[in-house]
Each structure stands twice: as structure tokens, then as C-alpha cells.
């Protein structure tokens, strides 16, 4: 039977909009303080180091008293080196590339997952949600190591893939350097990243898809749209918010990933996280590493800014 609850197309009435009173402002202020203390200030410190000269153990001070006056001992050389050296450029591009591949795969796998979760019986949905989040109960490092075991020549995933002959196809596609070698390849890296970040795609998608008004799908069918057309013309556009949220939650952390490329990646999968680590711990070159970190942050800020702009526009519109 149809209910009488209308689709929420109306603008929010005045008395329902949340008014931020004095107390409200304090509560909202706490995250701001947190962000300033633990993001903005450290960022400024990193920025400062990136333009300083390196001493034997620590970076030299930026501002020094010299000849009776304050002098800025800055050096933007590291940023210049970034553009020049192919390793840095390559690793930055590769990071974006692998993050993008991971995001697309997470979307391809996560969307059907979330869709059927949202369409399942209401009584089953909490259980399905728990199953999606269950991996988080185990340390992320251990799960990455588990893949290491599974894809090494002793692991059964390795045996399965080689047994099916898929490894020759994968080698031909360039996913692995040679048949039989599944570990420390682009393939193993992507497997690890998709596996780790899939829940971050599924959860926001599930959030939007579970709120989808099924009467809209009925209306589309009534107007001549087959289920396939309804999916692409109504369901997907209406889950746009979830798609973008999920994509951001996967793409942004993936760019700076260190542990997964380290454990599961190989020489061809050098990403910016590893390069920063090398500069900092192998070369002890704090300014160079900081400069790389700044570049990485900027690579992340662009999609983030787009996301915020999209969210702001979406806020004006319907819920």
C-alpha cells in the first residue's frame, strides 16, 4: 500500500533549520581548533622546513640574526628539483594513477554491493553492514601481510590464479612482469589497495542508496523506462552524492599510501609516499622530504576543494 509520506521536495521550513546559538558555536569551534592545532600549524612547520637548509641533524633555522638584522635563509631549490627530476614527477603521477585505478575499481565493485545491500530486507541490512565493517576489527597491517602470503608462491590465491592460467593474460596486460610472479607487482598493489579501501566506498554509497525513494523508480518505469534505463537515468544520478563522497574517501588517502605499496608493491609501483620516506630516512634530507609532502598535499587539495564546492551546491538543493 502506498503511504501518505510525500517525497521531500519542499524547501526546509524556517522552524526546522538548525539555528546556531552561542553554545552551538562553541561545539562547532572545537573541530576548528583541532584542525588548526593538528593540521594547519604542522603544515606551516612542514612548509617552513621545506624552504630551510639542512644542517647535520636538524634543519637550520629560517630566521637568523645576522649582522645585526633579521635575515630569511630560505631556499626554494627543492621545489625546482621536483619539476626537474623524473623520479619525483614520475612518483607523483604514478600515485595519482594508482589512486585513480583503485577508486574506479572500488566503485565498480562497491556500487553493486551497496545497491543490493540497500535493496535487501530491512532485517538483514544491519548484518550486511556489520560484515562490511568486520575487516576493520583486524589490524590493517595484518591484512596487508595476509595478502602477501596469499599471493606469494606458497599462497592459495597464487595457486588459483596460476592454475586458471590467468597469470599469462595478466602478464600480457602488463599487470605483472612475468607469469607466475604475482607478488610485488602492480597487480598485488591494486589488489591490496582495493581490498583495504572498499568499505570506504561501500558505506557512503549504501547511505545514499538506502535513502532512495523507490516510488521514483516506479514513476520512471511508468513513463516507459526499462529497469536498465531506470538504473542509469534515475538511480545513478540520484546517488551522485554517495559516489562522490566514496570516491573522495578512497582517492585522497590512496595518493599518500605508504604501507600497501611498501608491502605489496614492487619497483614499478614507486609512489610518492615511499619517496618521501626515502628522502627523510635514507637521505636525511628533511627539506627535500618536506617539499615533497607539500606537493602531495597540494595534489590532494585540488580534488578536495572541488568536493567541498560540490557539497556546498548540494546543500542548497534538496536533502
Amino acid at each position: 500500500m502506498s503511504t501518505t509520506h510525500p517525497t521531500n521536495n519542499a524547501p526546509t521550513p524556517a522552524h526546522k533549520r538548525v539555528r546556531t546559538g552561542r553554545g552551538g558555536r562553541w561545539v562547532v569551534g572545537v573541530p576548528y581548533v583541532w584542525l588548526v592545532a593538528f593540521f594547519l600549524l604542522p603544515f606551516i612547520v612542514v612548509l617552513k622546513i621545506s624552504v630551510s637548509e639542512m644542517g647535520t641533524v636538524h634543519p637550520k633555522d629560517l630566521l637568523v640574526w645576522k649582522d645585526g638584522g633579521l635575515q630569511v635563509m630560505g631556499d626554494l631549490g627543492h621545489f625546482a628539483a621536483m619539476a626537474a627530476d623524473p623520479i619525483y614527477l614520475g612518483s607523483a603521477l604514478r600515485s595519482v594513477q594508482y589512486a585513480a585505478i583503485t577508486t574506479v575499481l572500488c566503485l565498480a565493485i562497491g556500487y553493486p554491493f551497496a545497491y543490493f545491500m540497500a535493496r535487501a530486507r530491512k532485517s538483514v541490512q544491519p548484518l550486511l553492514l556489520m560484515l562490511v565493517m568486520l575487516p576493520f576489527w583486524i589490524s590493517f597491517l595484518l591484512r596487508a601481510y595476509a595478502w602477501k602470503g596469499l599471493l606469494s608462491p606458497e599462497g592459495w590465491a597464487h595457486d588459483l590464479i596460476v592454475g586458471l592460467g590467468l597469470d599469462t593474460l595478466m602478464a600480457w596486460l602488463g599487470m605483472i612482469p612475468a607469469p607466475g610472479q604475482l607478488m610485488n607487482t602492480p597487480f598485488s598493489l591494486v589488489v591490496g589497495m582495493v581490498y583495504t579501501y572498499l568499505p570506504f566506498m561501500i558505506l557512503p554509497l549504501y547511505g545514499t542508496l538506502s535513502k532512495l525513494d523507490l516510488r521514483l523508480l516506479e514513476a520512471a518505469q511508468d513513463l516507459g523506462a526499462t529497469p536498465w534505463v531506470t538504473f542509469w537515468r534515475v538511480t545513478v544520478p540520484m546517488s551522485q552524492a554517495g559516489i562522490i563522497a566514496g570516491s573522495m574517501l578512497v582517492f585522497i588517502p590512496c595518493i599518500g599510501e605508504y604501507v600497501i605499496p611498501e608491502l605489496l608493491g614492487g619497483p614499478e609501483t614507486l609512489m610518492i609516499g615511499r619517496v618521501i620516506w626515502d628522502e627523510l630516512f635514507f637521505n636525511n634530507d628533511w627539506p627535500r622530504a618536506s617539499a615533497l609532502a607539500v606537493v602531495m598535499i597540494l595534489m590532494v587539495i585540488v580534488p578536495l576543494a572541488l568536493f567541498r564546492k560540490y557539497q556546498a551546491e548540494a546543500q542548497e538543493g534538496p536533502r
Binding site: 502506498s2 517525497t7 524547501p11 521514483l216 514513476a219 540520484m238
Partner: protein, 367 residues
């Protein structure tokens, strides 16, 4: 109101049954609609009317029975292959599309070229008077405007049958009357056959040319609004529509033109004899507005008249409702139109009054 229907069934609902896990939501319903009429299914929540509508639309499949539109059985056809369209109670407008794209959605699915779609959408928006809001999104429109978009959208594909689910349900009282007139006007202008479902008696009676009363999955009576109101087929229908006084009665004698019955308080009720009814008459149904109240006894107090005491008097603006306490303890409801602004001659609370009515006023019921 649209003219009386001619022969031939445009839509035939044949022995349709719908059961959900053993409970019968729709119990062997038979209906016939003729082309061009507006037909209303009236019933309270849970009576099965919406389920029936959804089966015609294709969102539910009947457990058994046939749904024939122009002779073609719709059962088994998915909604997108049926030549009919529905206007949803909640409008179900696509929030991510503009008014224009909403209205044109069905046309795009039909493969119409863009230029043709644009012309048709323009014409439809003009029909519902929303031309200047073509680029707005649904959340930027008022309820009444949203409804007009929903109507335009449902008429875009020129359906053979238009289904309306509680069309006026979401509107406030004042808007309801204006919209009702406009809605009927547009439907008649387009000339589409219309099946509507509602729990609101006024909506059904004012919009439809024929209606059916539905209860617990079954159709109780089909007829024009005045047939159902003035000649209900049972106590239930009489009580369901409007207000009624139901008096248990016993037949004293019959002639070709009249029934003579006696009730607890009224010794002699004379009722005009209508078309033959099956069963023994056992009830007299009398609508409150057919009863006259006065302080003086009528000329013939023995027939169709009773004396009582005014127990309740409720002023309702255009009329005043009286509850008359009768000697047996029963209460007779009467409604007097407030013809004069200064009604001094109307009976007051606590006074004795005579209620009387004509012989054409009561309806004799057998069940």
C-alpha cells in the same frame, strides 16, 4: 460531469484477486470503465483500492483475474509496456531534473526527437500553466505547482488511461477546490479516460462521473455519485457516504408505488418504491438534509413525522446540524440549511420539535 457512458468496456477488471500471504487485499473485483469517463474508487485505508490501482499500473501482479484494456490483457506486461500513465500521490518528481526534463522524461524514453519533445513539453506546460517555471527544479516549487508538473508528465505520452492516486490528498482545503476544477477541466480537454482512487468522498463525488465503493477488497456498489448517495445498496454504503439515519423497520404493506413500514418511533413510514431489491426490507435510511424541523406539528403527523427533543445543535456555517432525541431513545440527525441570516424560527436546544419528511426522502434497504 462527463456525459453518461455508452456501451463497450474500455477497461475491464475481470475477477481480479490479490492475496498477500493468505490475506485477500483484493477479493474478486469486477469493474468496467467506458472510454472518456472519470471513474473513482472510493474506500477507506486498507480497503484494497490502491492495490487494485497498482495492479492496473503494473507495479503488482494479480494473483488471478484479467485486466483488459481495449480487449488486451495487461497482466504480465511490465509497467513500461502498458499504454497508461499514473500520477502518484507524492508526485514522485525526479529531483535531479528540471520541470522541463521531468515532463519530457517519458517522451525521451519513447525515442521522440528532441525538437518534437521540446514542442510537446511547451504545449503541456502551457496546458497546466507552468510555462515560466520550466527550468526550475521540483524542490523550488510549491505543492500545487508540483502537482501540475506531475499531471503534465503523466499526460505527455498521451496515455489511453490515466491513473490518479489520491490526486487532491496532499493539498490544503482551499487549494483543493480550485485544483479539482482545473484538474477535471484539463482531463476532459485532453479527453483521456481516468481511473482515480481516493478516501475522500467529496473528491470522488465531485470529480467522477461514476464511482465504486470498496471495502475489505470487495466492491460494494457501483454507480453515479447521486445513485450511490441517494440509493445506497446497503446499510454500510449508506453509512459510509455522508451522514444517514438508519431506522430498523418492519414492512406493514406494499403497493406498486409505495412501501409502508413501521419503525420504533415512527409508526408509519411511507417510502416511494424504487427498483426491485432482493431480500426483505428491514431498514429505512434517511439523510439528515431531507428532514424538516419545525415547532408546529405538520399537517399529517401520522405519516413520516415524529416528535422529539433537540438534544444537540451544532452550527456549521452553511447549515445547522440537529440531534433530535426520540421517544425510544434513538437519535435522529437532521440538517437545516441556514436560509436566513436571522433564523428565529428554528428550534432551540432543549425544545420540542417535529421532524417530518416527504415520501420520496427515505430509502428502503434490505441489508
Amino acid at each position: 460531469m462527463s456525459p453518461q457512458p455508452t456501451v463497450g468496456a474500455f477497461l475491464r477488471v475481470e475477477e481480479v484477486v490479490k492475496s498477500f500471504d493468505g490475506t485477500l487485499a483484493v477479493d474478486r473485483v469486477n469493474l468496467e470503465l467506458t472510454q472518456g469517463e472519470i471513474f473513482a474508487l472510493l474506500g477507506s485505508s486498507g480497503c484494497g483500492k490502491t492495490t487494485l490501482l497498482r495492479m492496473v499500473a503494473g507495479f503488482e501482479q494479480p494473483t488471478s483475474g484479467r485486466l483488459l484494456l481495449e480487449g488486451r490483457d495487461l497482466v504480465g506486461l511490465p509497467p513500461y509496456e502498458r499504454p497508461l500513465n499514473m500520477m502518484f500521490q507524492s508526485y514522485a518528481l525526479f529531483p535531479h531534473l528540471s520541470v522541463q526534463d521531468n515532463v519530457g522524461f517519458g517522451l525521451k524514453r519513447a525515442g521522440m526527437p528532441s525538437a518534437e519533445i521540446a514542442t510537446r513539453v511547451e504545449a503541456l506546460l502551457k496546458l497546466v500553466q507552468l510555462s515560466r517555471l520550466a527550468q526550475r527544479k521540483p524542490h523550488q516549487l510549491s505543492g500545487g505547482q508540483q502537482q501540475r508538473v506531475a499531471l503534465a508528465r503523466s499526460l505527455a505520452r498521451q496515455p489511453k488511461l490515466l491513473l490518479l492516486d489520491e490526486p487532491l490528498g496532499a493539498l490544503d482545503r482551499k487549494l483543493r477546490e480550485e485544483t479539482r476544477i482545473e484538474l477535471v477541466h484539463i482531463i476532459q480537454q485532453v479527453g483521456v479516460t481516468c481511473l482515480m482512487v481516493t478516501h475522500d468522498q467529496e473528491e470522488a463525488m465531485t470529480m467522477a462521473s461514476r464511482m465504486a465503493v470498496m471495502h475489505e477488497g470487495r466492491i460494494l456498489q457501483i454507480g453515479t455519485p447521486d445513485e450511490i448517495y441517494e440509493r445506497p445498496s446497503s446499510r454500510f454504503v449508506a453509512d459510509f457516504i455522508g451522514n444517514v439515519n438508519l431506522l430498523d423497520a418492519r414492512v406493514q404493506s406494499t403497493t406498486e408505488q409505495h412501501w409502508s413500514l413501521s419503525t420504533a418511533d415512527v409508526p408509519h413510514v411511507l417510502a416511494e418504491r424504487g427498483p426491485a431489491t432482493a431480500g426483505t426490507p428491514n431498514c429505512v435510511a434517511l439523510r439528515p438534509e431531507k428532514i424538516h424541523l419545525s415547532r408546529q406539528p405538520p399537517e399529517q403527523p401520522q405519516v413520516n413525522a415524529v416528535k422529539g427533543v433537540v438534544r444537540e445543535k451544532a452550527y456549521c456555517g452553511s447549515f445547522t446540524q440537529y440531534h433530535l432525541g426520540l421517544p425510544s431513545g434513538a437519535v435522529l440527525k437532521a440538517a437545516l440549511t441556514n436560509v436566513d441570516r436571522t433564523a428565529q424560527s428554528d428550534p432551540a436546544l432543549g425544545e420540542e420539535a417535529w421532524a417530518h419528511w416527504s415520501s420520496t426522502a427515505p430509502v428502503v434497504l434490505t441489508r
